[in-house]
């Protein structure tokens, strides 16, 4: 009887330890970190492609309306761009459901442009 009691106690204790380990050391946090990093990479690649496509002088010399239009043109079903021109945003609405956000500040001689990018939640 006593040995059965000890057996149950040890087994229960071991099970508790194992289940605690499984709960504590779960892979979800690492997976979310990996997804977040991948999303950042996607946004940075899209931002780089956008900047290379329009060119730096465009950001320096173009009127605000043309810059805002370029952000709209560069947006697609995956990535949405907006610009902050001297702190003032274009009228591009951030997607209501986005999974990640990234920004890049371009400090140019004549103005400061912040390129904002959102990754749409798929």
């Amino acid at each position: 009887m006593a040995s059965q009691f000890i057996d149950i106690a040890v087994a229960s204790g071991y099970a508790a330890v194992c289940l605690s380990l499984i709960v504590l050391v779960n892979p979800i946090a690492a997976r979310e970190a990996a997804v977040g990093a991948a999303s950042s990479s996607t946004l940075d690649s899209a931002t780089l492609a956008y900047i290379e496509r329009v060119g730096f002088p465009f950001f320096e010399t173009s009127p605000d309306a043309a810059l805002c239009a370029s952000a709209i043109d560069a947006s697609n079903s995956t990535v949405v761009f907006d610009l902050l021109l001297q702190g003032v945003p274009c009228d591009v609405a951030a997607p209501p459901h986005y999974s990640h956000y990234s920004s890049l500040t371009l400090t140019l001689p004549g103005r400061t442009v912040v390129v904002e990018a959102w990754l749409e939640r798929q």
Binding site: S3, Q4, D7, I8, V10, A11, Y14, A15, C18, L19, L21, I22, V25, N26, P27, A30, R31, A33, A34, V35, A37, A38, S40, S41, D44, S45, T47, L48, I51, E52, G55, F56, P57, E60, T61, S102, L104, T105, L106, T107, L108, P109, G110
Partner: protein
């Protein structure tokens, strides 16, 4: 009964152990994935930063040169030398999304005789006949000691002022105005007539090359005259905006 209980306990222990080991394996794999994703993120961010720093600093250099050119007229007599002495410098340092960066850029005159140079900056590239600058750019980025990027690049930037045209207009204007005033020494009326007859043709010639020409003269003493002229290239489309470039010349006859 007791054996069954022991067997059940052992089975549970083994199952739980397998679960723990499987969980640890998955966690390790996910950690590795997260670590490599993080490395990839840092690499992408550093590349993006490198491009944005290269562009920003290059534009800053061009802006400095354009400001200098538009604020101070160049002299025909020393045009080549003054352009050879053009220089600019810029730097930037900071931290962006976990990447510390330090960038320096300097630019100076790039003689065309060196020959064309391949370039990957969208704002650059050698253009014959205009002011080309050689930019030395160094960028160092550190993503928390995990991913570092160090680059030293040379680019050719151009300021689209038409140096060759200005030089040839300087020579032709100087020669033509000097000849006009020298044709009738000691007679201001004839000098003025010759000057007035010569100037429109020169202005047309300058205009054809994108320059506006204005000129004047005055007698010096009895049989001498001095003249001046100003060539302005209007609305030069520089990388940081439009500006006017002025070249001035003068001479004395008699």
């Amino acid at each position: 009964m007791a054996r069954a209980a022991i067997a059940a306990t052992l089975t549970s222990v083994i199952l739980l152990s397998v679960l723990v080991v499987a969980d640890a394996t998955v966690v390790t794999a996910q950690d590795n994935l997260a670590a490599s994703s993080q490395l990839s993120r840092l690499e992408k961010r550093e590349l993006l930063l490198e491009q944005s720093l290269a562009g920003s600093l290059s534009l800053d250099l061009l802006g400095q040169v354009q400001t200098a050119l538009s604020s101070t007229p160049s002299e025909c007599s020393s045009l080549q030398n003054s352009l050879r002495s053009v220089s600019a410098g810029s730097s930037s340092a900071g931290d962006d999304s976990g990447v510390a960066f330090l960038a320096n850029a300097t630019a100076g005159y790039y003689p065309e005789s060196v020959g064309p140079m391949a370039d990957n900056l969208t704002i650059s590239g050698e253009v014959p006949g205009v002011l080309d600058l050689r930019e030395t750019l160094s960028i160092r980025e550190d993503g928390g000691g995990v991913v570092t990027l160090a680059r030293r690049e040379t680019h050719i930037l151009n300021v689209p002022i038409h140096v060759d045209s200005a030089l040839s207009l300087c020579v032709s204007t100087q020669g033509a105005l000097g000849s006009a005033l020298a044709s009738s020494p000691c007679n201001a009326t004839l000098d003025q007539a010759a000057f007035d007859a010569t100037l429109p043709g020169l202005a047309d010639q300058a205009s054809a090359q994108g320059f506006a020409l204005t000129a004047g003269w005055e007698p010096v003493g009895t049989c001498s005259a001095s003249f001046w002229f100003r060539l302005v290239e209007l609305g030069v489309s520089g990388a940081t905006g439009s500006f006017d470039w002025t070249v001035i010349g003068s001479g004395t006859v008699g």
